[in-house]
Symmetry: C2
């Protein structure tokens, strides 16, 4: 799927029928347009409402930052030798170099100049010019090089994907007022059955219907019962308008860890074409795709996580970087109609506290979001923009740091460049992939409890679901047998930061005595207690609606392997499985009752969630 | 007006009847509530969706920052001796000291801990705890210490006042759909006749009526023709609902430079009580109040700018700082019903690129805006939050900077504290006030042109408006007289960053040959040309609607004295007045025509503005 020559590609379709009233009512601020006149050489500028940049109290911004080779990648992508691969958790103790943003750069070119005079002053909502230009180029040339519509997409900066989503929604959804507006106008948003719920909460501010789509190991299903086509084809208009938005996380899905294959993307996209649905693809974990997930699954279970979804299964071969080429590409790569809105962020690649991300979509929509940016956040903070710009880009011929402040032995770094950035992403992928492996190996080894019992020899001993019987060599008239009961299941995460544990409460000794949602609540409390003292995220938090929460959400817990320090991942996972086994060892109802008494928070959360 | 004992104050009134549908639909994110459990000591945290903070590439954030005494204050507030008052434009060349945010602080108290591990990680939308706590305390104890309702207001951080306004509007205004919703429901926002227009543009996204209120030298008028009461009393419901919001800049009003006195505030407030109007007070220039404006006006013209509006006229005496006490206080100081929403920002006190501000209002409204923050921007960037926190607060017992990077001679600063912050504000006020004086002295001296002519002795020679006749001692039958024609007028700015020049085009030699709006356009073009080459902001940009733009907006230009370097303020102002005089010297229509040919931008802007 190499890009067609641009002139043969169709233009993106007109989406204005989906533009919200607010978006339609937007006009550019005349103030901002005025800024372009500030650049007239020698002009005595009385026009801007700007403070004096000599009065900013910061004379420099600086930092010590990692070299791009700090962390060790995982196979199979070829990488430059990891000359600097230190202890992954060592942080500040490993070698770094200085990143310095001077007050004033002598660079006359606004597209390369990185200084505080510019970055800390007012500016266009597009962002600090060198950073915006770098992100735009990286996005269009390396990240999404093959968007199959004429002239390709445009880019606008955000303060992160939460902001990116809320601006996208402002542009594409109207508020619906209960009792005032006709029910047929109530908007809807399609979501994953198990999902990162804040976008649904935001959409509920507009009184949108939140419409779950069934998932398999990859992510949402295009067809089949509860799949995308099923939901849209059988839409009941008495609940509202057929949903025109799909919100989805397709790489390292939160919470399931799935990765949607290219083949599945094409199927989903065709359904969206048929029903005129806009795809909002939120991908904070995009570069965290784990080829080892399928390998581990085959090794331990004899089958891959997903036949056609392994990362690197298809090489687009045009990003210029083998690592990027090895990754399953964005929905943008199949977006021949311009109906994909892609959200990218630095939250997981640099830090969440950046509050820095960007949206990639067809230009007409980006323009509306740009106008919204003028009227709301304006450009992201100049503190983060200038530091990230200096980290990634560097400045040619910038001032050296003030000598008095540095000993001469310390390097000043002049930008990672795209090579360094991709190398950094590979190193991060390596760190997180090794953590995933370490956690999953322990989970794999502990997913059964062993139950011993006696049974008459005559009894047929077929393997029931979730248990296997091992006959002992005993010449008695009874078999002494050992039953391996499976107490949880999981898929090896193909990407992202999470393992999604599915507990099989049917196999709990008290399965007949309590509703399983109660067992789940008690289980969670036990895990947080000594000596286990671990905090998984309850699955109910990720259920798209109350029905799913009640039907299945309680059966899951989400484990984030990302935040735990590398040295802690094995001992903590072991504490977790010990806690799980301890819970399955409970045979007295009173013990469950006692645990439930101590779950007022959990109960309160559940009550709140069903509001 | 000292605060009453808190128990005697009335509670703020219920504003929920004005909460927008979006605000009413808001619920808290269960994810964010979950964060509080992350703090359980020793817990193995698998719950958060957080990246590992050891993988943030920044090991430190640092900067060289000013000492709070860098700039010299102006009278009359008593200040600590300016031990460090350097050349105000010297910037980096004056003494500074290092501000260092370490990767990890050993401080166990989250309310004082300032480190990258926290600041660059996800966190509650309230903001970085030490910074939020400091801003909240400064706001409630020093900035607005006397808010006369029970338990006082609350505070929420924003990414600046544009964001603060848009979130306030989201909470308090519903979209109106033309042709769908009844006209009586169309919302309205009261604004100043001459205004900073972006908030009006934002409100127009909701299809709001933008309703101008007449102004005098202070700001909007409470009574009189076109004043607040007049507009509200005579509201014609066939245009929409009577406006329930007032957007206003009361200190250093943009563009007029006015300051609304306490007396006027009380009058405006009473009208708002009568008509149930919420006041959105946007005050980026609050600390820039200029006692010298009245003094200069008295000296040159024999009267103050405003009888009751001089800064410092009323001492509230409870902020703890003479400088703060000397300033006209916020509308919050008279807000006994809790109907004021105050927007504060670091944009003019630190730098616009901070994208950091805060809203102060009654708690029920702040809660809605906090929920909006969770769903949109989240907390401001950790880069700016941590650097500003370290600048203002510092850390007790924080790690010293890494010795290897610094020569031992360099001080590391441990926070300005409130004392330093107030001293910094005084220094900034000093810098800007001196600039205002320098500009206005030149404007004052050049506001007339001198016209010579002959007139019969018999003619009565009363002083017409805008001209004075000086008789020469001539014994001819005619007087040879010199007429001083006033070509512009202005009020000495009582605050802020702007002088608002009112041109008297009636006195132009070609006043009868061109519409004065055309003269204004030609004038602007001439000013941008050699040898004048100055860029004032055209008054049409600040007109609240097209009628005002057409009737009077073109007569004004706004001059920002803030951004120009101190050494440049006099020569540039001189170039400006030379340009003005050159324009008044034009006697040939063709010269105006030629200038108008070169004003396509101006014309285009005007065309766009009348859309």
């Amino acid at each position: 799927m190499t890009a067609e020559p641009s002139q043969e590609l169709p233009a993106p379709i007109d989406l204005t029928h989906y533009f919200s009233e607010v978006a339609k009512n937007k006009t550019a601020s005349p103030f901002k347009a005025f800024y372009k006149f500030f650049g007239i050489p020698g002009i005595g500028n009385f026009a801007g409402g700007l403070p004096n940049n000599n009065y900013f109290p910061f004379d420099t911004l600086e930092g010590v930052a990692a070299l791009p080779e700090r962390f060790k990648p995982t196979p199979p992508t070829p990488v430059k030798p990891p000359k600097q691969c230190a202890d992954p958790d060592a942080g500040p103790r490993t070698e770094g170099s200085r990143v310095v943003v001077p007050k004033v750069s002598p660079d006359p070119n606004p597209l390369t100049k990185i200084d505080l005079k510019t970055a800390l002053q007012y500016g266009d909502a597009l962002g600090l010019p060198p950073l915006f230009a770098w992100i735009r180029k990286f996005t269009l040339e390396h990240l999404h090089p093959n968007v199959p519509y004429k002239n390709g997409p445009e880019v606008v900066l955000t303060t992160g994907n939460t902001d990116g989503f809320s601006k996208t929604l402002e542009a594409l959804m109207n508020l619906w007022r209960e009792g005032v507006d006709p029910v047929e106008e109530r908007p809807g948003m399609l979501v994953e059955q198990y999902m990162y719920t804040p976008p649904a909460i935001r959409a509920k501010s507009y009184k949108a219907n939140i419409v779950p789509v069934s998932m398999d190991r990859q992510g949402i299903m295009a067809s089949g019962e509860g799949g995308l086509e099923d939901v849209l084809e059988n839409w009941d208009s008495s609940h509202g308008r057929r949903p025109h938005l799909l919100y989805t996380v397709t790489i390292g899905q939160n919470p399931t860890g799935g990765v949607v294959s290219v083949q599945r993307r094409k199927e989903i996209y065709e359904v969206c074409v048929k029903y005129d649905v806009i795809i909002i693809e939120d991908e904070p974990y995009w570069y965290l795709q784990y080829p080892s997930a399928n390998a581990l699954s085959i090794k331990s279970r004899g089958h891959p996580v997903s036949e056609d979804a392994q990362p690197g299964c298809e090489t687009y071969g045009s990003s210029g970087y083998p690592f990027l080429d090895s990754l399953v590409p964005s929905f943008l790569s199949v977006d021949y109609q311009g109906r994909v809105v892609r959200l990218d962020t630095f939250s997981k690649t640099i830090a969440p506290g950046c509050r820095l991300g960007w949206i990639t979509a067809q230009p007409a929509l980006i323009e509306k979001i740009y106008l919204s940016t003028q009227q709301t956040t304006q450009q992201p903070s100049g503190f983060v923009q200038s530091m990230v710009a200096q980290l990634l880009i560097g400045t040619e011929g910038a001032l050296p740091p003030r000598e008095s402040f540095f000993s001469s032995s310390n390097k000043t770094q002049n930008g990672w460049k795209v090579d360094g950035w991709v190398r950094w992403l590979e190193g991060l992928r390596g760190n997180y992939e090794r953590r995933m492996n370490a956690m999953c190996n322990i989970l794999e080894a502990n997913k059964h409890v062993v139950k011993t019992g006696r049974r008459r020899k005559q009894t047929s001993h077929h393997n029931e679901q979730n248990q296997s019987t091992i006959n002992t060599t005993d010449d008695d008239s009874e078999w002494r047998h050992v039953v391996k009961l499976q107490i949880y299941d999981f898929d090896y995460p193909m990407g992202g930061m999470f393992t999604w544990l599915h507990f099989i409460y049917e196999t709990h000794p008290l399965a007949d005595k309590f509703p399983h949602s109660k067992l789940s609540a008690a289980h969670w409390v036990l895990l947080t207690r000594e000596p286990y003292r671990v905090l998984p995220a309850p699955g109910v938090l990720f259920s798209a609606n109350e029905a799913i929460q009640a039907a299945s959400g309680y059966q899951f817990m989400r484990l984030c392997f990302a935040a735990v320090d590398e040295a802690e991942i094995e001992p903590l996972t072991q504490r977790l499985v010990n806690g799980i086994h301890a819970f399955w060892a409970i045979k007295k109802s009173e013990e469950i009752d006692e645990l439930l008494e101590e779950s007022p928070w959990m109960e309160a959360r559940l009550a709140e969630l069903t509001l």
